[in-house]
């Protein structure tokens, strides 16, 4: 998932696709967030009440179906998305990764390319 929430439709398309795949009985073991896609993981998003909450939708879907939501560490650091460990390591006074997302390396993406039957990219 390679683009940020709201600015691009990619995060929504990916979400709808994953929901459909799960409904059809397929396994979706991981979603990897890269480029601006890391911004989907921010716990500080406050969209208008009548709009979908992209981060919460992803967190809920992941929790319900056991999906591993992985945020690329290099892309996240560039864009200011840090979990508690990273924030402490980098000497920052705040962290902003939402529940259900975890920071990890690009190897997590390649690993899925190797282990799964299909890899789909949503970006711009």
């Amino acid at each position: 998932m390679s683009e940020g929430p709201y600015t691009h439709q990619a995060a929504d398309t990916a979400y709808q696709f994953v929901k459909s795949a799960l409904a059809k009985g397929h396994e979706v073991p991981r979603v990897f967030f890269y480029h601006d896609g890391v911004n989907v993981s921010s716990r500080l998003s406050v969209p208008p009440q009548d709009e979908r909450h992209i981060q919460k939708n992803w967190s809920a879907l992941a929790q319900e179906h056991g999906i591993d939501l992985v945020v690329c560490i290099a892309a996240a650091q560039r864009r200011g998305l840090l979990d508690a460990n990273e924030a402490e390591r980098q000497g920052k006074d705040a962290n902003n990764i939402a529940e259900g997302f975890r920071i990890s390396g690009l190897g997590q993406l390649i690993e899925m390319g190797i282990q799964t039957d299909r890899l789909v990219t949503f970006g711009d």
């Binding site: 390679s2 439709q9 990619a10 398309t13 709808q16 696709f17 929901k19 459909s20 795949a21 409904a23 059809k24 397929h26 299909r118 890899l119 789909v120 990219t121 949503f122 970006g123 711009d124």
Partner: protein, 102 residues
């Protein structure tokens, strides 16, 4: 083994659709999603190129994105098939690889 190509940008601002069509092999499928659905408009400046490709590839339009943009069936090329997200999933399964043209 065939490829499912996805195109998500309008062909009037972005070369992705035309580049994609030039790299398709017979038996491939092209799925237009998001702003890419405009690539299926009949009578547009790219409709000729898109129609020509239908000899070798199957063209799909994600229905939800077409409806969102007010594109009824009568505005879309007759060779294009409309699918939902479940159809998108089926296409990913049916083709050996999915290639996104971003």
């Amino acid at each position: 083994m065939s490829t499912l190509h996805t195109v998500n940008k309008s062909p009037f601002t972005n070369g992705a659709l035309l580049s994609c069509l030039k790299h398709c092999k017979p038996g491939d499928a092209v799925l237009l999603i998001e702003d890419g659905v405009y690539g299926a408009l009949a009578g547009s400046s790219v409709a000729g190129a898109v129609s020509d490709s239908l000899e070798d590839v199957t063209l799909y339009v994600l229905g939800g994105d077409a409806s969102a943009r007010g594109l009824d069936d009568d505005k879309v090329l007759s060779g294009a098939k409309t699918v939902g997200y479940d159809g998108f999933v089926d296409l990913v399964v049916d083709h050996a690889r999915t290639q996104a043209w971003l």
